[in-house]
């Protein structure tokens, strides 16, 4: 995989002469992305593309080529691949659609391609793929514009939407491998690569069809001992399995039987398309949850009740709080105030101020040996008029004391984006858009290692 991820020279075969808006020109995108290696455009109908000399055939290039990226109609692919073999190219990405994802003829071409690869020792990524995204060396083979922002997330997917729509899936991608139809390189090789990559701490996977099933499952259970794996398995129904067949040409079924074992190994299964970014943020920033007992600190009794419902749904429960913990807030509350967990601090806040009371409460529950994790419910008020209700700075100060317990926050009110940023600036407390997500996120921090 290294030559796919960090090539020093790339040939772009079948590169379009068109550049600019709507041209989907790979080289243009690659240069914009900041790739510093050598690029050789190959197009028999062009003399130069974007100021670079264009070759009519790959055999003309008299230099070493680490990787060839083919974006040509499927009819031409077999000849091109044979040319690659003659030019001694060992790594090839096939971008175009129209293979096993399409019709009978496409399947035949894909099979032929695979045979050529096997015969000549050429490793193939695709077809039907955006290929590689490596933000550690500003490299991509995508013809769509991508966000260039580093992270410790390694992404393995079967569709370019996980690259183009990174904001909606994993968030910032450190390194990404789009398997597409996966005629050769598959989940096993990609996972193996990230297993050994020190830059990558979290591995997010989008999977429609599981091929290389046995090898992958065994490896995944092994990797999960060292790195957290997040899995978005799609194509779960009869209809969508059929759609998956014509998306990447892979069978989607027979997965559920492994789910139990994989969950046991600590692999996080996603149930909805919006969860991946919250899983990533949680696993990247928070310590493990070492038990099921959660303390909830809240300005609002109603929100405490909602999160209690959600915690139970995800196998967590409201912790008992020690007398010592309760007393710290009781001293600040009216005599009549019933205190427990959820710990409703609002009457104390009205008297002593939000920053003071919330800090005391957070430190108290984090120091409570019965508590494994915390949900903080707080307000995101308009600034500067109501800055006295913004407890982000005070809570981040408490978190500096290193309790090594996860704290998830949910904010309500008109200034959520800004106050969330303030909460997360300490890189300890993560915020979530709903109480449901906050509860779920804590639940995935339970792990066996």
């Amino acid at each position: 995989m290294k030559k796919f991820m960090e090539p020093e020279s790339v040939a772009l075969i079948g590169l379009s002469r068109k550049t600019g808006p709507g041209s989907y020109n790979i080289m243009e995108n690659m240069i914009r992305f900041g790739y510093k290696g050598k690029i050789f455009p190959v197009n028999p109908n062009a003399r130069s593309i974007l100021g670079k000399k264009s070759f009519s055939n790959i055999k003309e290039i008299q230099e070493n080529i680490d990787l060839a990226v083919i974006s040509a109609p499927r009819e031409d692919t077999i000849n091109i691949l044979n040319d690659c073999a003659k030019a001694d190219i060992k790594y090839v990405i096939i971008v175009n659609q129209g293979f096993a994802d399409a019709d009978k003829k496409g399947k035949e071409i894909q099979n032929t391609i695979k045979e050529i690869g096997t015969r000549h020792g050429i490793r193939i990524l695709g077809p039907n793929t955006l290929g590689i995204l490596n933000n550690y060396n500003n490299f991509t083979t995508s013809f769509m514009p991508l966000t260039n922002e580093k992270s410790s997330v390694g992404l393995i997917c079967q569709s370019g939407i996980l690259f183009v729509g990174a904001e909606d899936f994993s968030g910032a991608i450190g390194k990404g491998i789009d398997l597409g139809n996966g005629c050769d390189i598959g989940f096993f090789e990609a996972l193996k690569y990230f297993q050994e990559d020190p830059d990558i701490k979290i591995i997010a996977i989008h999977m429609e069809g599981l091929y290389q099933g046995k090898e992958f499952l065994s490896l995944a259970n092994d990797v999960a001992k060292k790195k957290r794996i997040i899995l978005l398995k799609t194509a779960l129904t009869e209809t969508s399995i059929k759609s998956a067949m014509s998306h990447t040409g892979n069978m989607a079924g027979n997965f559920q039987i492994h789910e139990g074992v994989m969950k046991q190994a600590g692999i996080v299964f996603l149930e909805e398309d919006g969860q991946m970014k919250y899983a990533v943020k949680t696993l990247c920033n928070m310590p493990a949850l070492k038990g099921n007992n959660i303390a909830v600190i809240t300005f609002s009794g109603a929100a405490g009740i909602m999160v209690a419902d959600a915690l139970e749904k995800y196998g967590l429960k409201l912790s008992t709080l020690s007398h010592n913990t309760i007393n710290k807030i009781a001293k600040l509350s009216p005599d009549w105030m019933p205190l427990g967990n959820p710990l409703d601090i609002w009457p104390a806040v009205m008297k002593y101020g939000a920053e003071k009371v919330y800090s005391i409460a957070l430190e108290a529950v984090l120091s409570d040996s019965q508590v494994n994790g915390v949900v903080c419910i707080s307000i995101a008020p308009l600034l500067p008029d109501f800055s006295f209700l913004d407890v982000s700075e005070s809570l981040n100060a408490v978190m500096k004391k290193q309790f090594n317990k996860p704290v998830a926050a949910w904010l309500y009110g008109p200034n959520k984006d800004e106050i969330s940023k303030r909460f997360e600036s300490g890189k300890k407390i993560m915020t979530y858009p709903t109480l449901e997500t906050a509860a779920w996120s804590l639940s995935i921090l339970k792990s066996n290692y």
Copy 2:
């Protein structure tokens, strides 16, 4: 309820002399909110508050008072309420906590209050409430700052968080009633008021404990024939039911048995705290879904598969598309492209451009008699460089043709906020943060009327 919602004169009993940040001063908030009626502050220790003459007792005020808002320690409430009776005040809001939500003594005081109310014909909202929010006449009794933005949503809740955190629940509130502990005014009266209020089209309810059960359920089934009702029922587990007892002092249980009947009547049950705003937006802007058959138009095969999974989860299915519909896209696609539902238009888009192909596809599926509703999957690209991928204007033009079928969109990519606004500017296509939410939102548009 009218005197609660549209009082011409309000006495604020026990109003704090403190004003400014952290004072939670109701009158200050009321004036900032733009209330134009008469306000009479009552505080024996002040001569004036915010420039208004302060009365030492409500009996001193020699003018008609539509509504009294009491924010005083619980010990003083009984005397104040007796004073209200003598001053012939018929509508009272009790703001403070510390009643049935607290301890035995609080319960006793609340019972006494209720008796006084019954004896003198005084209707009471609360205790433990922010009271009223009426954006149609800029009136609120909230001591917390609220967003003043009109909508056709009538909100009934048991907690001020639904007011303060409106952005996280119903979105803009037209009129809101916080029942708090609900010692007198309850779900029945509040619902009855919104039933007859022509400003209100959608009724959103946050309910912990259902009191007035029978009357409410019968009324709700009736109201649901004319207006859509959205219900967030919380306190669903043993633990949270206990918490609810000490939040508003009401029993939460015995609800599930009515769920079937209420769903049958078209009432939307929410499963998670983040869903309310999407339910509101959906029901406010989209026509009913007249069958289960959904067409999906997509740039991405993978996203089509995800939404197919989600649709099935919510009782919907992928529609069969007519040959005529398919042919309109087949003409623009490569021969090998397998076309169906989800309708993957990407190869056509690469050749003929997003705006042209997407408009043709949307018009085709909306014209297809087998299709009841549509999910559009599209890109939210950076502008202006990739504006050729922004199809918002083209799709809104198609929607002007009045197909009377709901269209939900999901956008992926780096510019979601901006492009979502453009999609929604036509007030026809609504956008959702996840495919899951888009599918769910269509499902709640099924109705029996």
